[in-house]
């Protein structure tokens, strides 16, 4: 389990703190020029890549899925990812092109990928899987058809109730249907987001920040529900600081210019509740927001079994700081 150590790079989710309250919204916003490029190399980069690759090696069926007809889109993805990486971090990544013969260098890891662009036989993995292993995000490619989006390629290592294996081929609405432990409150929101996604144009990605609490685990997928389901019960007001993590999912929706597909990028970040003391204003805002979560939302987010303990922990922490 890793956590964010450079808090200047952590996406703190409660930006509506003036009201000291939190509700769901489809707040997909346009991006400032500095945020259009979603590449982000944090101090956790190497640890995340190591873990992501382990998961892909150990559980290929769980972590990576694609349809055979997606190869052209996969190469479009390769080009996009390399362009963004080289553009933002020329000191870390570089690309050399001799016609279709490309060499991508990852200077952080000291690795090179040499391939013939557009020729799958020149590499051992699928193109999307190959380049995705150099970056810590989860990547979902959704093809636009009949006013909906269908999941055709996915590489994932930090799933929250998502499974490339199960969700392959599903529409945006099917994937975001109510998840376990939930009511049906998410449905209307899902459809609003779907309609919004239809308006996204190439070169103008949108972003959205989602958050949750996780109990001692970064990976809560369907395949391991039997394990993490009961584990949520072990949180107490004493151990919540260490076990419970604020899980932030910064999402990007990028229109691919050639295929017209939407690339859905997730940057998942974790901060244990105990680290909130490093930013006292965050601690207080988080406490006010969590204390205000309605029951239905706690159920929907799967945090109901340990939310009261987490709120109590934060309250005790704030009180102890005041005493000092």
């Amino acid at each position: 389990m890793f956590k964010s150590t450079n808090l200047d790079m952590f996406t703190f989710p409660f930006t509506n703190y003036k009201n000291k309250t939190y509700r769901y919204s489809n707040d997909l916003v346009a991006l400032g020029e500095d945020k259009v490029n979603f590449m982000k190399i944090t101090p956790e980069y190497q640890a995340q890549i190591k873990r992501k690759r382990e998961l892909l090696e150990e559980q290929p069926e769980v972590r990576y899925q694609s349809f055979p007809h997606t190869m052209e889109m996969q190469w479009e993805f390769v080009e996009l990812i390399i362009d963004l990486a080289v553009d933002k971090y020329p000191e870390h990544f570089s690309i050399e092109k001799n016609g279709d013969q490309w060499t991508f260098s990852n200077h952080i890891l000291g690795e090179k990928e040499t391939f013939i662009f557009g020729d799958e036989s020149s590499i051992s993995l699928e193109p999307y899987d190959m380049i995705g292993r150099h970056f810590h995000h989860d990547y979902m490619l959704m093809v636009n058809r009949d006013d909906n989006f269908y999941l055709e390629v996915a590489q994932e290592s930090f799933a929250a109730l998502f499974s490339p294996h199960w969700n392959l081929g599903m529409s945006f609405n099917e994937i975001h249907g109510p998840v376990p432990f939930v009511s049906r409150d998410g449905v209307e929101l899902t459809d609003r987001i779907r309609k919004f996604l239809l308006t996204i144009e190439p070169g103008a990605p949108r972003t959205r920040v989602n958050w949750n609490l996780m109990a001692d685990r970064w990976d809560v997928n369907y395949e391991t529900m039997d394990i993490w389901g009961p584990e949520r019960e072990k949180v107490t007001a004493e151990n919540a600081g260490e076990l419970v993590h604020l899980r932030v999912e910064e999402q990007w929706f990028v229109r691919m210019p050639r295929s017209n597909a939407i690339l859905f990028v997730l940057d998942t970040q974790f901060l244990p509740l105990e680290d909130l003391v490093l930013r006292p204003e965050w601690l207080e805002i988080t406490y006010f927001n969590l204390a205000d979560i309605p029951d239905y939302m706690a159920e929907y987010k799967g945090m109901a079994p340990f939310l009261p303990q987490s709120v109590e922990y934060l309250k005790n922490l704030i009180d102890s700081l005041k005493v000092k």
């Binding site: 392959l168 376990p180 395949e223 391991t224 529900m225 039997d226």
Partner: protein, 165 residues
């Protein structure tokens, strides 16, 4: 195509009994021996002169060659009615989708039980189930709660694994 509809127990095409869609020009009725008397009764009673009817009877087994020829030769405006047991219906349904029919153009009337499947999220295998809320995987024995979501790609309902108390 992976997103093509499949017949499953909550398919919108499933109806209680055969009822002709009077907005269509032609009615194609495919039925097996379980449905034969009902179909003949409806045909004797509800047919209208200006509409066209065609039927195809399934005997002991489906003559696939004849079925395909029939489905592919249909023109726009044909409504398909499948009246049979589950296995015959599933086979005809799949052939009809392959031949270009959409769910809006198909009515399915099932004789006998409908089949349901669960997709195990532990071993990624499919098991046939009844209407219990909790079941065990017939391949890996994992306990699963039967979820409400159906995958057309995996052809089953999601099975959420749990460890029984």
């Amino acid at each position: 195509m992976y997103s093509s509809p499949v017949l499953y127990d909550q398919s919108e095409t499933i109806k209680e009994k055969l009822a002709f869609n009077d907005k269509r020009k032609k009615h194609l009725i495919i039925y097996d021996q379980k449905a034969v008397s009902d179909v003949k009764q409806v045909l004797a009673k509800d047919t209208q002169e200006e509409l066209e009817y065609e039927h195809f009877e399934i005997g002991d087994s489906i003559d696939l060659q004849a079925l395909r020829t029939l489905l592919y030769s249909q023109k726009m405006g044909t409504h398909l009615y499948i009246a049979s047991d589950w296995d015959h219906a599933a086979a005809v349904f799949a052939e009809a989708i392959e031949a270009g029919f959409t769910e809006d153009e198909i009515q399915t009337i099932i004789y006998g039980p409908k089949r349901r499947y669960i997709y195990c999220m532990k071993c990624y295998q499919k098991s046939e189930i009844n209407y219990d809320d909790e079941v065990q995987c017939t391949h890996c024995n994992a306990y699963m709660e039967v979820g409400p979501f159906f995958s057309k790609v995996r052809k089953g309902y999601i099975g959420y694994p749990f460890i029984p108390n």
